[in-house]
């Protein structure tokens, strides 16, 4: 739309700026808090400008002094969990969607509805039996225990099913005539044609995995297996001493980085996929 109405421009910009400020302000507070020492944060008024302790605080986090585990360990745990969850979800759901869309097997619709039903059973609902199962398998305090129960995904299966249904049947027939087996067709045609969706889904699922809190809290007892999101909460409850706000904020700040990096990096693939879409 090309319009020249200063008032409308002014109003829309105000709204946008307010919206951005609403989100940015807490992050700013976090950055500021992470750059002061413990003492300054117990005094009112709270600082609104950054202090000079940023690097010192950061170093302190990585040394792991005074905490259960150094931050690079928890970061690594989080990364492993988030990657296993997102990659696992994508792999499983893309294969099940492929089966449901392209193969006419017995009870196809039955399985489809079964997958649909699992939408009603998120982790929180089935958490006790799931815990029991994982415990019996001896998977407590392992990466497998952290990620496997979260891998099955009806939503992603649906999304891929929708994507596959937009791929014309004639392409499948053309590839059959070209002599491609179903799996060749899957790898040579279906996956390349869904890469935008895979990228988009990866972003969403990575953040979903990264932000998991309740489940890791249950299955990990060994501090070496803590995830970074958990460790923030752990630090708040660090016994009788005052919570160390500067370190907590610093941890939160560092914990935010990987999801941001994923978004920025995937966005490129995503936008590229959207602009030269050729379906």
């Amino acid at each position: 739309m090309i319009e020249n109405r200063p008032m409308a421009t002014f109003v829309s910009h105000t709204v946008l700026i307010l919206g951005v400020a609403l989100i940015v302000f807490p992050i700013w507070v976090m950055v500021v808090a992470a750059s002061h020492d413990a003492l300054r944060l117990t005094q009112v008024p709270l600082p609104l400008l950054p202090g000079n302790q940023f690097w010192i605080n950061l170093k302190l986090l990585f040394s792991g002094k005074g905490f259960s585990a150094p931050i690079h360990l928890t970061l690594l745990n989080s990364l492993a969990m988030a990657l296993m969850i997102s990659v696992g979800k994508i792999v499983i759901s893309i294969i099940s969607a492929f089966a449901i869309v392209y193969f006419k097997f017995r009870f196809r619709m039955f399985f489809f509805w079964m997958i649909f039903l699992t939408l009603m059973l998120p982790v929180e609902v089935r958490i006790l039996p799931t815990y029991e199962v994982i415990a019996n398998f001896g998977m407590l305090d392992t990466y497998a225990g952290l990620s496997i129960p979260l891998i099955a995904s009806a939503t992603a299966t649906f999304m891929f099913r929708q994507t596959f249904m937009t791929i014309p049947d004639e392409l499948m027939e053309a590839s059959r005539i070209d002599g491609a087996s179903p799996m060749r067709f899957f790898f040579d045609v279906v996956i390349p044609m869904s890469r935008t969706n895979i990228a988009a889904l990866f972003v969403i699922l990575f953040i979903f995995g990264w932000n998991q809190y309740l489940w890791p809290l249950l299955v990990t007892t060994d501090p070496d297996m803590y995830t970074v999101v958990m460790s923030i909460k752990q630090m708040l409850e660090s016994g009788e001493s005052e919570p160390m706000w500067h370190l907590i904020m610093m941890t939160a700040l560092v914990a935010m980085l990987p999801p941001i990096l994923v978004v920025i990096f995937m966005q490129k693939i995503f936008v590229k996929g959207l602009t030269d879409s050729e379906k």
Binding site: P168, S175, I177, A180, M193, D276
Partner: protein, 350 residues
């Protein structure tokens, strides 16, 4: 070069049969066109030959070998689809090379074949482009190229030109026909456009509701249609059909009448067929009121209404003709070119 034989070919979806026993024998290098109205089963029949659709009963033979249970890739066929079905994420080159790669052909052999075919079809300049960056006609040629590189025994086309504009369609029509003659590959071509069918076919198969209504060369079918359906479907503009009653002396069409030709011996109600191009204007024993005029440049189509007759009569006249709507226009039939059909069975009787 290969022969194809279809014997008592039938196809049912669940309980509904859509192909009711078709027999066609195709000779080496022949260009066969399957033509018929929408939904008559052309695509289904073609896809049964391709192996994309299972065969309910009957046999398909290619080179005298039953192929019913062979995978499409093992039948030695290539297919060109209506929407081209090019792989959107591959370049033109890769689109053409994909099937050959799957055959595990050596790289330099693939390259040679793709380059040769690209030259043949004049698509060398786009080999590195994606299909989305090509025009409709270019995509059409790439789809042809993908079919040709495989060096198949049989080409199958399913309405390959229906997404092109009229002018390009005429061009591509000639190109496909010339190419097929040059390569001498047995071809089955599906279309619902009867002009395409007439101009391209060595032999035509007119399909009606899953039955082969007539098989023959285009001129055989034009001159000698077996029933009213074929007569009405082949020829453009379509044949006129008039309900009439045959008496000893004359054939009554509404209030008007013409002399009964000597070879017409049946009496009573009958359907008379006459093509728009088979009217006489010099003599005139009939007349009608002009309802509509279509000027096509080289000729003019007159839509006449005859008294007491529901069906309008379409006459193809000279381009110079000057007629007015509402005027009474005298005409007569070229009595050599009359067709007569049974009212009930719609079979041709004379």
């Amino acid at each position: 070069m290969s022969t194809i034989n279809m014997q008592q070919l039938k196809k049912s979806y669940q309980d509904t049969e859509v192909i009711h026993g078709i027999n066609i024998d195709i000779e080496e290098g022949e260009f066969i066109v399957l033509v018929g109205p929408s939904g008559c089963g052309k695509s289904t029949l073609l896809r049964m030959v391709a192996g994309l659709e299972s065969i309910t009963s009957g046999e398909v033979k290619i080179d005298d070998k039953v192929v019913n249970d062979l995978e499409p890739k093992d039948r030695g066929i290539s297919m060109v689809f209506q929407n081209y079905a090019l792989y959107p994420h591959m370049t033109v080159y890769d689109n053409m090379a994909y099937g050959l790669k799957l055959m595990k052909m050596p790289k330099d052999e693939i390259d040679k074949r793709v380059q040769d075919v690209a030259k043949l079809l004049q698509i060398q300049d786009y080999l590195q482009r994606r299909p989305s960056k090509l025009s409709g006609g270019q995509r059409q040629r790439v789809a042809m190229g993908r079919a040709i590189v495989r060096d198949p025994k049989v080409f199958l086309f399913d309405e390959p030109l229906s997404n092109l504009d009229a002018k390009l369609r005429v061009q591509m029509r000639m190109q496909i026909k010339t190419l097929q003659q040059k390569l001498a590959v047995t071809t089955i071509y599906v279309t619902h456009d009867q002009v395409e069918a007439m101009t391209m076919a060595d032999r035509l198969v007119v399909l009606n509701n899953g039955i082969a209504a007539q098989i023959g060369t285009p001129m055989e079918i034009y001159d000698d249609p077996k029933d009213q359906f074929v007569a009405g479907f082949i020829g453009s503009p379509a044949m006129n059909f008039l309900d009439c009653e045959v008496c000893d002396e004359s054939i009554k069409i509404g209030q008007q009448s013409i002399a009964t030709p000597t070879h017409v011996t049946q009496r009573g109600k009958i359907v008379l067929g006459i093509r728009p191009e088979h009217f006489n204007q010099s003599v005139s024993d009939l007349q009608g009121t002009v309802q509509m005029i279509e000027k096509l440049g080289s000729n003019v189509l007159l839509y006449l209404k005859m008294e007491n007759s529901e069906q309008p009569v379409v006459i193809q006249c000279d381009g110079q003709l000057d007629a007015k709507i509402g005027a009474v226009y005298p005409f007569s039939f070229n009595t050599e070119k009359l067709y007569f059909f049974d009212t009930n069975t719609q079979q041709r009787i004379y």
